[in-house]
Every structure is written in structure tokens, then in C-alpha cells.
């Protein structure tokens, strides 16, 4: 047999042979016993090779190797690759400082006022929603978490203090997954900045890592608010 026939059989076995050549080869396989026998032997060997290295345990990764990647904590905190055009238009500057109380207790439970406001306040690019206790809230985007829950990035303003946070909804409650003041921009409060402009911040890193896709559109977010963020 010519080497060219081995190439044909090999490509046929891998489903890499063009359609016309495939039809032609099939006719030959029916007409030429030697070619057929060679193909059967080639396929049998291929099956053995495949099975030998696809046996149970073949893809088992040693824990020490997986930990190498899991422990690589120096990952770049960027939004690269995440389609946040919506976020880009919504992220606004605020120009304020952090709140020590929140820093000490970033997952502070029981903030029913903020919780209720995150349930019902649409995201916006500027302006503030004044809460009943005088704080000002600006949700800036909503997105689906990879675990299936809904999350919202927001800005919160109290007197001369502000925070950027991401809260995710679980069992009817919004819980801060990350809360940070270091990324808050000094400015007038009406400026826009592109998503990723402050790309080394905990908020961007959290979203890049945990978001299941792009941010919700206004329409999608409105539907979620109307549905009280039920799945």
C-alpha cells in the first residue's frame, strides 16, 4: 500500500477528510479487501491508544498542581475580556473618603434600608437615590453571579464618606461580597470613567472573576426588579 493511502485512511479515521474524498474512499473500502483490513487494523489501534490514556484516573490532577494555580494570588485584577460597555457608561465619580465603620465591618448585616433600596432602585449613571436615613445610593450595574445569584455594584454616600461595593442577593437579602473605598474617584460626581480605568481595585477583580456574563441591560434589570430578583 502506498503512503498516500495511509494518509487517506488516517484522515478518514479522524473525520478530517473532505466530503468528496470521503465518498470516494468509502467506495474503495467496499471494493478493496486489503484497504479495508488495513483500515480496520488502524482503527483498532487508534481505539487502544485512546482508551489507554482515557482510563479512569488518567485526568486526575494532583492536588499539589491544582494548588499552584489556586494559590497564584498575584492575578491581574482587570476587567479585560468582560463585556462591560454598560458598566463603562454607568460608573461615575464621587470624590469622597471611606467610612471606618464599614471598613471594620464590611459584611455588616441588618442594613434593611440599603437592602430594600437595592431591591428596587434601578442603576444609573449620575444622581443619587436618597434613602430614608439620609444616605445616598447609586446602583451602577447589575449582573448574574456564576453561582446563579444576582449581584449589584453600587456607590453609597454619607456626608463626606462613600463606598463602592458589590452586594449579592441570597435568600432575600443583599450581602456585601466586596466593599471598598480605595477605588472611589475624586471628582465632581458627574464624571464618567471607562470600566477598568481604576483597574487594580477589588471591585473590578471581583466582577471579572465572578460574573457569569455581561451586565444586565436596563430592560433586563427592570424585569428583575419587577420580579423582586427571583430567578
Amino acid at each position: 500500500m502506498k503512503h498516500q493511502d495511509y494518509e487517506l485512511l488516517s484522515q478518514y479515521l479522524d473525520a478530517e477528510l473532505p466530503a468528496a474524498a470521503t465518498s470516494e474512499l468509502r467506495l474503495r473500502l467496499m471494493a478493496e479487501p486489503e484497504l479495508r483490513a488495513t483500515y480496520d487494523r488502524m482503527r483498532s489501534i487508534n481505539d487502544d491508544v485512546h482508551e489507554a490514556f482515557n482510563a479512569p484516573g488518567a485526568d486526575a490532577v494532583p492536588q499539589r498542581v491544582a494548588k499552584l494555580l489556586q494559590n497564584d494570588s498575584s492575578a491581574i485584577n482587570r476587567r479585560a475580556g468582560w463585556g462591560f460597555a454598560v458598566a463603562a457608561s454607568l460608573l461615575a465619580a464621587t470624590g469622597l473618603l471611606m467610612n471606618p465603620e464599614w471598613r471594620q465591618s464590611p459584611d455588616k448585616p441588618g442594613d434593611t434600608i440599603l437592602n430594600a433600596a437595592l431591591d428596587t432602585t434601578p442603576s444609573r449613571g449620575d444622581g443619587w437615590e436618597t434613602l430614608s436615613d439620609g444616605r445616598k445610593l447609586r446602583p451602577v450595574l447589575s449582573f448574574a453571579h456564576r453561582n446563579g445569584s444576582w449581584c449589584r455594584e453600587y456607590l453609597l454616600l454619607q456626608d463626606s464618606q462613600s463606598w463602592r461595593g458589590v452586594a449579592c442577593r441570597s435568600q432575600g437579602q443583599w450581602t456585601n461580597s466586596v466593599l471598598d473605598a480605595s477605588g472611589v474617584i475624586q471628582g465632581s460626581g458627574s464624571e464618567y470613567r471607562p470600566a477598568g480605568a481604576g483597574d487594580v481595585d477589588a471591585i473590578s477583580a471581583y466582577i471579572a472573576t465572578h460574573a457569569a456574563g455581561i451586565a444586565l441591560s436596563r430592560k433586563q434589570e427592570s424585569e428583575r426588579i419587577e420580579a423582586n430578583w427571583q430567578q
Binding site: Y6, L9, S10, H50, A52, A55, A60, A80
Partner: protein, 168 residues
């Protein structure tokens, strides 16, 4: 030190199982496969990865290069597989190990006799299920070269491979 983005790191984590199979098919030994996999991951972490690189293809390429480096650094390769699942949480049954080891041993012995370029090409396609185009990209050779190498590998195996069931 260069690092990976979160997305690259997660993509690589998801690819580790396939990479481990690739390592096993190259080394024919569970212990050597684990070492090669670790070397691959360490090199990826050390060198980083371009933002536009496909994480899986990049990792396979690093793995291939690491294996070639390893071959160059030692002349004698371990030819006999060791017990699989030494560090693994789910171990296959003893009977399955015995049967799998015999088959893997027979296949590995045959693959050992192939030129390395043929072995790499065949492994990517026959074991990992890569397309010719993907294998060509990983091995950095033209598509036609991949076709030829795989065909030659199979042609050679028909002369040198004896299934383990025939040896019993």
C-alpha cells in the same frame, strides 16, 4: 514575576485534566505525568501568558516544549507505568488498574518507538481529540505536516504495536 489573569487561571484550571492525560500519554508513567504537569504549570506561571493567547493551546504548547526539554535532558525514559492514582481522591478498582496498566504499558511501549514528532501529533489527536488545525497550532507546524505525521505514526504502529490482549 509575570502572572495570569483570573480568566486565564480559571481556563487553565479547567484544562488541567486534559493536560494531565496528555502528559500521561507522553510519559507513559503516572508519576512522570504528574511531574510533567507540575513543570508545565510552573512554567506557565513563571512566564505568564499573552492576553490574546488561547489558554489551553498555550498550555499544551508549554507542555510539549517541557517534554522535549525533558527528553533532551535524559536519554532513558521510564518505560513502565507506575500505579496510578497515588495522590488522587478517587482511585479506580484494582482490577481496572491491572487491565488499564497492561494496555497502557503495551501502548506506551509502542509509542516509545515512534519518532517524537509523530508521537506528539498522534497523541494530541487520538488521545486528546484535538482537530488537525488545533494540533498544528499547538505544535507550531503546518497542517499538512500534522496529517503526514499522524499517518506515519499509525503506519508505524501497525508494525510495532501488539495489543496487550494478544500478549495474555
Amino acid at each position: 514575576m509575570p502572572s495570569l489573569s483570573e480568566l486565564q487561571r480559571e481556563a487553565l484550571l479547567a484544562e488541567l485534566g486534559g493536560l494531565r492525560k496528555f502528559c500521561l500519554s507522553l510519559t507513559g508513567s503516572a508519576a512522570d505525568a504528574d511531574d510533567l504537569l507540575q513543570t508545565t504549570v510552573e512554567k506557565v506561571l513563571e512566564k505568564g501568558m499573552p492576553e490574546d493567547a488561547h489558554p489551553a493551546k498555550w498550555a499544551y504548547r508549554i507542555c510539549k516544549n517541557a517534554w522535549i526539554d525533558e527528553l533532551r535532558s535524559r536519554e532513558v525514559r521510564h518505560r513502565y507505568p507506575q500505579t496510578m492514582g497515588q495522590e488522587h481522591e478517587v482511585a479506580p478498582s484494582a482490577e481496572h488498574i491491572a487491565s488499564g496498566e497492561r494496555q497502557m504499558s503495551a501502548v506506551s511501549n509502542a509509542l516509545d518507538k515512534l519518532p517524537e514528532d509523530q508521537r506528539l501529533a498522534l497523541t494530541l489527536v487520538a488521545v486528546e481529540g484535538k482537530t488537525y488545525a488545533e494540533a498544528a497550532e499547538i505544535l507550531e507546524v503546518p497542517l499538512g505536516t500534522i496529517m503526514s505525521r499522524i499517518a506515519r505514526a499509525r503506519q508505524n504502529l501497525m508494525d510495532i504495536y501488539t495489543p496487550s490482549r494478544d500478549q495474555d
